[in-house]
């Protein structure tokens, strides 16, 4: 415990489980410091009055979300193996996607396809995938470095249909797959498109 750490009882005060009067005299000053911290919390409302118009403007230029639903409806998927060997791009030597297997089980909808994402990025410290399949969470799907030449891979089982994604290199660089088709995401970035 460093000298910056609040006493556990003072943390209870900050949590609202105790009042200042509950603290022993020797902790009162620390308790008052803690309450000054909370008093500085900015709880003023924030409003974006033109948000609705801006969102609707963007939404009205996009395809119907019901279209995505149709693509995710169950359909038969054949076993396919289709490696893509991709051209170099920046520090990324190549990327490829391999359909590993078709439907994993005979279970009903949606049909699932196992896909391996491969990115060769020798300089990267970390690579992950963000896409429609993980709510664009750049932390949800890390790739694993699988070889000495900077090859990063992740294997996912995804519903048949169309997915958009990007590689996230070192947590900050959003890089579309240089060999996959891409679409403008409407915010100045390109998303790669994968159709299974």
């Amino acid at each position: 415990m460093s000298d910056h750490d609040f006493h556990p009882r003072v943390k209870q005060l900050l949590d609202g489980d105790l009042t200042l009067a509950d603290l022993p005299p020797e902790l009162r000053a620390e308790g008052e410091e803690a309450l000054r911290l909370l008093a500085a919390v900015d709880r003023r409302p924030v409003a974006f009055p033109t948000m609705t118009e801006r969102v609707m403007l963007a939404v009205n230029t996009r395809p119907s979300p019901a279209g995505w639903r149709r693509m995710l409806e169950p359909r038969e998927i054949r076993l396919r193996i289709r490696p893509w060997v991709l051209a170099p791009a920046l520090a990324l030597a190549a990327a490829l996607i391999i359909w590993i297997a078709g439907p994993r089980t005979a279970a009903p909808a949606p049909s699932l396809v196992t896909v391996r994402f491969v990115l060769v990025a020798p300089e990267a410290k970390a690579v992950s995938l963000a896409g429609t399949f993980n709510q664009w969470d750049a932390r949800a799907t890390p790739l694993v470095r699988t070889g000495p030449n900077g090859t990063w891979t992740a294997t996912l089982t995804l519903p048949a249909g169309q997915h958009q994604y990007a590689f996230v290199v070192d947590g900050v660089r959003w890089v579309p797959d240089p060999g996959a088709p891409a679409v403008d995401d409407g915010f100045g970035r390109r998303n790669s498109v994968l159709t299974l």
């Binding site: 909370l38 500085a40 009205n60 119907s64 664009w136």
Partner: protein, 181 residues
Amino acid sequence: MRPETQQTDADIVRAVLAGDHERYAVLVERYRDRYARYAARMLGSLDAAEDAVQDAFVRAFDQLAQCKEPDKFVGWFFLILRNRCYAERRRSKAQAPLEAADSLPAVDRTDGGAETAERRRALQHALLELTPDQREVFVLKHVEGLSYGQIAERLNTSVPSLKMRMHRAYDRLREQLREHK
């Protein structure tokens, strides 16, 4: 048809998926300000927060068919916004560290004057030094006023782990604020 104010989120989600895109504006109107403050405090910048909220609404529209429980649209939307805020913060930190808090309106002359504004600014700077997980639990509890139980439900985690995160945040904030003096 029920008036817009009485329509449930699920009613609206189904209508949008059935092709009535204009109804999506009701959802945006209903939730835009509720989450504006969360985004602003998480990102430390009104401009970045506005972009993140707008982006999250557009992404939620694109992925609306994947909202498995339309009556829980708002919780689902929150997770999309949360992920955008995390990604945006990582990006902005790499590009422009520590500029963000200055773009929040710190001075509000009707609300305590310069001293209050300075304390708020110092705390917002300190918040930006926390890890995103620590900052989030602090914002949800002390800015949005949620209980640990409500936060745990929203983030699908446990109260003890949230408390541990928060208690580290308190210590870190104290350290940052002392250094700021």
